[in-house]
């Protein structure tokens, strides 16, 4: 049998770039996307795995791997952390970028949220700067339809130069349509020619001063235009990664030094230091995303968000915000505390009955009293206590909290409480951690 621990996913969470292929012909697909766009739903739907999905950004802090196959091809799917950008301002962004750059994926699927496509396009554009084979999967099309947002998928695909597909990730049909496209991209039936962002004149001039030589030397391994930009940005940590990946020290390349100096002079003449250059690059990306989205997304109902806004107003207003929050949290606690009493009693009476049997068994065996003391009165009894007191509240509290999380209420709590938490140098998000700690304390206090 070919099933090993690693192939069925027990070791699926990976800290580095190492990919466990099931067969050498497996192709690697990276799954990128903003946080909260249903990326994990796509991953789980395709691989049949049950990665925890949730509303908090950075759920996937490392790369998780899974497997899926179509009629023609088997794939290793790598779920990279959800990020808004690949500029590596945080650990997640760095992991995401490193995988797209150095993980040699055969294709990158970027999952987007149809209800705020413009913001998602920023990541798509950045991914296309690094990788050629990009497939854009616009998830949550059903929610967009509900809000009367129309997206011209074909037009978007023409703008971007890569295949774009609308999807509802919960539906199998959507996913198989996505994999059809992925098949065609990886076997070369569909040729991607990603849009390249045009930057300000002086930046383009600087790029063209160094790109030809970079293309000649490393063009097969890295996108030379992207590499040029990064050299000009003087992103040192990234340069180290690139050197390690290419096996040479790019900046010390004698053929390059003169050209790079020249390129830097071009930028200096326009007073573009590395920080300003980064600003300009981000601005160009954002405005390109804006232009594309203006041309391809139609809001048929200008007040498409009015229901959401009204609900938000009630949940976060001065008069109703706190009472609703307290009431909801009180309800959760009440359900947890009273609800767990019954199963707690059941479990404890069962487990302590077992203890009586164990005691009877020890007496029957004529076991010495100290052995009975250690094993039954010590180990077993403590374990029975902990299980009967801790398990029921946890089993009720966490699903309830997940409900609030799925409904999107938790970010509102964070928003309501941020000021209070800021006073102790924390942030509103930590309100949730505090609730959980409270639950733990409650559970650990035997009544």
């Amino acid at each position: 049998m070919g099933l090993t621990n690693s192939s069925i996913g027990l070791n699926a969470v990976d800290f580095g770039l190492e990919i466990n292929k099931q067969s050498p012909n497996d192709k690697i697909i990276a799954l990128a996307g903003n946080p909260n766009v249903g990326k994990s739903t796509v991953f789980n739907g395709l691989t049949g795995m049950k990665q925890h999905t949730g509303n908090w950004p950075g759920k996937t802090v490392t790369n998780a791997q899974g497997y899926c196959s179509t009629k023609n091809q088997s794939y290793v799917l790598v779920d990279i952390p959800g990020t808004y950008s690949l500029m590596a301002h945080s650990a997640e962004e760095e992991v995401a970028r490193n995988f797209i750059c150095f993980g040699n994926p055969d294709a990158v699927v970027v999952v987007c949220d149809a209800t705020c496509l413009e913001r998602n396009l920023n990541l798509v554009l950045q991914t296309m700067e690094i990788s050629k084979n990009v497939v854009v999967c616009i998830n949550l099309m059903d929610e967009a339809r509900r809000k009367n947002i129309k997206i011209d998928v074909d037009k978007l695909s023409k703008h971007l130069g890569v295949p774009v597909i609308g999807a509802i990730a919960r539906k199998k049909k959507s996913l198989s349509a996505l994999m059809d496209i992925v098949d065609k991209v990886t076997d070369g039936t569909i040729h991607c020619s990603p849009l390249s962002i045009q930057y300000a004149e002086e930046i383009e001039e600087a790029i063209s001063a160094i790109e030809p030589i970079l293309n000649e030397k490393y063009g097969k391994l890295l996108n030379s235009r992207w590499l040029s930009l990064k050299l000009l940005e003087q992103d040192e940590p990234l340069m180290k990664e690139i050197d390690a990946y290419l096996g040479v020290s790019v900046l010390e390349d004698s053929q390059l030094i003169a050209d790079l100096e020249n390129a830097k002079n071009i930028l200096e003449r326009s007073k573009l230091n590395p920080d300003k250059l980064k600003d300009k690059i981000v601005t160009s990306l954002v405005t390109s995303a804006e232009k594309i989205s203006k041309d391809t997304v139609y809001y048929e109902n200008q007040n498409y968000n009015s229901t959401d806004r009204n609900i938000d107003r009630i949940l976060t207003s001065k008069t109703t915000g706190y009472p609703i929050m307290l009431a909801l949290l009180a309800l959760v606690f009440w359900l947890t505390i009273t609800g767990s009493n019954y199963p707690s009693q059941l479990i404890s009476s069962f487990l302590f009955q077992v203890q009586d049997y164990l005691t009877a068994f020890f007496q029957f065996m004529n076991a010495p009293a100290w052995l009975h003391g250690i094993l039954v009165l010590g180990v077993y009894r403590v374990l029975a206590w902990v299980v009967s007191v801790m398990l029921p509240p946890m089993a009720i509290f966490f699903p309830l909290f997940t409900l609030l999380e799925d409904a999107g209420y938790l970010p509102r709590v964070a928003y309501n409480l941020d000021k209070t938490f800021k006073r102790c140098n924390a942030c509103g998000k930590q309100a949730l951690t505090m609730c959980m700690v409270y639950m733990n304390l409650h559970a650990k206090t035997p009544y």
Binding site: M87, T283, V286, E290, D312
Partner: protein, 77 residues
């Protein structure tokens, strides 16, 4: 033209971003969410505690603390 910081924009009002004075990681974050020059920004609510304030930026609702709003220079629409 009268320049304001984002703190002067009240719920219900809109503005256009003129400049971003923030530095370091906050600057990068704000740029990543699309807060570049000439971006439309609409104030849609204030937390019951008075801070942070929620803004609609490029179709997404984002809460920004007043200490960070101070560094975002805007023109009221």
């Amino acid at each position: 033209m009268n320049m304001n910081s984002l703190n002067d924009i009240n719920p219900g009002e809109s503005a256009i971003v003129n400049a971003l004075l923030s530095t370091g990681s906050m600057r990068r974050r704000l740029l990543d969410i699309g807060l570049v020059e000439n971006t439309d920004i609409e104030c849609i609510g204030r937390s019951p505690g008075g801070d942070p304030t929620a803004f609609l930026i490029r179709g997404a609702v984002i809460a920004i603390r007043s200490e960070d709003c101070e560094n975002i220079i805007v023109t009221r629409k």
